[in-house]
Structures are given as C-alpha cells and as structure tokens.
C-alpha cells in the first residue's frame, strides 16, 4: 500500500534536488536552463501531489491554480534567460 501523495511528492523532491545539483555545477548554459526547468517540474509535482485527495474526492484547486500560472511564467522566464545569454555571448564576441 503506497500513499499516492507520498510517492509523487518524494519523486518531485528527488527531481528538484537532482536538477538543482546539475544547475549549480559547471555545465553549458543551455543545460543549466534545462536543469532549472526540470527542477521547476519537481516543485510543481510536490504541489500537485499534496493537493491530491484520493480518487473519489476532488483535488484542492488552489495549488492547481498556482502551478498553472507557474508553468506559463516558467516558459517566459526560460525565454528571457535564453535571450539574455545570447546577448551576453554577442557582447563577449564583440570585445
């Protein structure tokens, strides 16, 4: 008997910390961005896992709303990060 919120939540934590380690180690920039996205997914998973209330009951909608906006914001933040890095690269080349 496994508790659904528990296993999904633990998986989310594992994803988060592993991705955080990759993001903090010395890797190419795009891999860092990838790692931050995976870490974000881990956090979202913890949120939604704790919102789950069993197969019969409806889940808690507040974390759902938070994660929903989080996903969209994560995308635009990723785009901003990529644009910043590209600009930095270009200024470095011009020097």
């Amino acid at each position: 008997m496994l508790s659904v919120p528990l296993i999904y939540g633990l998986a989310g934590i594992l994803l988060f910390t592993f991705a955080l380690r990759v993001a903090l180690s010395r890797v190419a920039f795009l891999r860092r961005v990838l790692a931050i996205n995976v870490a974000g997914a881990g956090i979202f998973l913890v949120f939604i896992a704790t919102a789950y209330k069993g197969a019969e009951q409806a889940a808690d909608p507040v974390p759902h709303a938070l994660v929903l906006t989080g996903i969209v914001v994560a995308f635009s933040a990723t785009a901003l990060a990529i644009a910043l890095a590209r600009r930095l690269n270009r200024s470095a080349d011009n020097d």
Binding site: L2, V4, R21, R26, A28, L34, L80
Partner: protein, 319 residues
Amino acid sequence: METLIWNLFDVLLLTALLALGWSALSTSNLRKGIALFIAFGLVLSLIWARLKAPDIALAEAAIGTGLTGALLLAALRDEESAPAETSVQEPGNRFYAYLLMLVTIILTLILGWGLIDALMNRQHPGLAYDVFAQLDQSGVSNPVTAVLLNFRAYDTFLELAVLLAAVLGIRSLNITRQPYLKAGPVLSGLTVWLVPVLILMSAYLLWVGAHAPGGAFQAGAVLAAAGVLLRLSGYPAAGLPARLLIRRAFMIIGVLVFAMIGLGLMVLGRGFLDYPVAWSGSLILLIETAATLSIATILIMAFLAGESGEPEHQEKPSC
C-alpha cells in the same frame, strides 16, 4: 487488487519520469537532452491527468511538450550558428563537486522528511473547502478558473504583468533569431490543416473554462502553439499581425482589460476586482478573452525573441 494495479501504474509512471529527467540532464549531447526533455514533458502531463489535475495537464501538454522544446531547440540553433564557447563540461573543482553532492543529499533528506511530516500530521484540508463553499458565488463552476479569475484575481492580474515584463525584457535585448526555411509539402499541408484546428481548440478551451477544465492560460498556450507551428514551417511572423501597433495592442490588452475592470469596479464603490455576483460570469469571460490574446501573443513573442518578420528591424546577421 485494483489498488495494487494502481500502485504498479504509479510506480511505472514515476520510474519513467525520473529516468527521463535524469538522462535529460546527464547527457552531454544537448539535442538528445532536449528530445529527452520533450518526452519528460509528455510523461509529466500524463501524471497531471493521473493526479486529477486536468487543467494543468492541458497547459503542460501545450507548453511542456510543444513550446518549451521548440524554444530550447531554437536557442540551440542560435548557439550553433554563432561561434560560441559552449563546452564547459569539465567538473572543475573536485572539492566543489563533492560539496555540492553533499549539500544536495542533505537537502533531499530535509525536504523528504518535511513532506512526510506534513502528510502524516496534516491538520487542515487546505483551502479546498473554502473554495467549494464559495464556488456558486464566483460566476463559474470550474474551481480552478474561480480561483484564478475571481478569488485570487489580483494574483492573475500581476501574473499577466510579469509575462508582459518578461517579454519587454526580451525585446529590449534586441536580438534576432533566424527564421526557418519554407517547409516542404507535407509539413505545410499539416500546418494548413492543423493551425485552424488549434485556433478552434483554443476558442473551445476558453469557452469551456467556465465549467470544465480549460481557461485563459490553456487557451493562450494552444493559440501560441499554432503560432510556433507557423514559424516552424517558414512563416517568419508566426501568424502575428504585421502592424507593430496591433501586435503591441495584443500584448497589453490582457493587463489593460483586467485593470480597467478592476478600477471600474472601484469607481462603482466595490473593491478592486470584487465582481458583483450577477455580473461575474460575463466579466470573467471578458477578462479571459483579452488574457488569452495577450498570453498567446506574449508566448509567441518570447519564442521569436524580438520583432522578427519586420524587415526594417532585422539587423545584419552573424555578428
């Protein structure tokens, strides 16, 4: 028996997720990493559906699998065409790597302990009860939409402002991305066929969001996916209007309508975004329509990075 099968299902799904996440980050080949990341997003949207979060599954299916993958691949393409030093793969300082590993393990243990403690000794059922008690006052019957556009509407308002700020930041960096070549007959055939379906799907999600999973964010993401598909098959403007003025109007209309309605209600002597019950359904639909347009435009602009498709804005390539 059935619980056991469900447990098996959960374990397999999570194994697939963790394996994909781990290998997406461990591979040294970025293109492979991004392919794995797209698969990761697919599995994640299955997990959202399994955890009874259909709203999130819709957004993830559009953004996690489609848009983010396409964005990362576009970025990779830029990096490859520019002579950049992308290979800083060495672990560098040994001591730092070990320290990082240790800190990660400790962090995992602390977070895991916190989660287990929270799940075992949870006293109150979160905010779900309050939301469902007030749901018939909100003007919509989908609880997630009610939270987003009524109970916590100012959060969503600022959320849109954050999106706008991000895309303004991207634009101010003044970078350009090379457009794609015109697609062959098969992909253009698919595009011609799929883009109208995507637009229809977006309208459907916007409408249905009042009483079933869907809403402005999902609709905007699906609409943005249509734009990205157009861009990929060789339409440089990605379906955005050619006039800059109209494009910018689309970008801000969500925030604008949100603010106007909020301030208008204040003029009428109510709180900011405190809708009258009789009007809340229509007001929410109005805001959501504007927000969908804005979100889609912003997401496409974030993908394009700059006003591409405008000849006078294109600076000389390969700097």
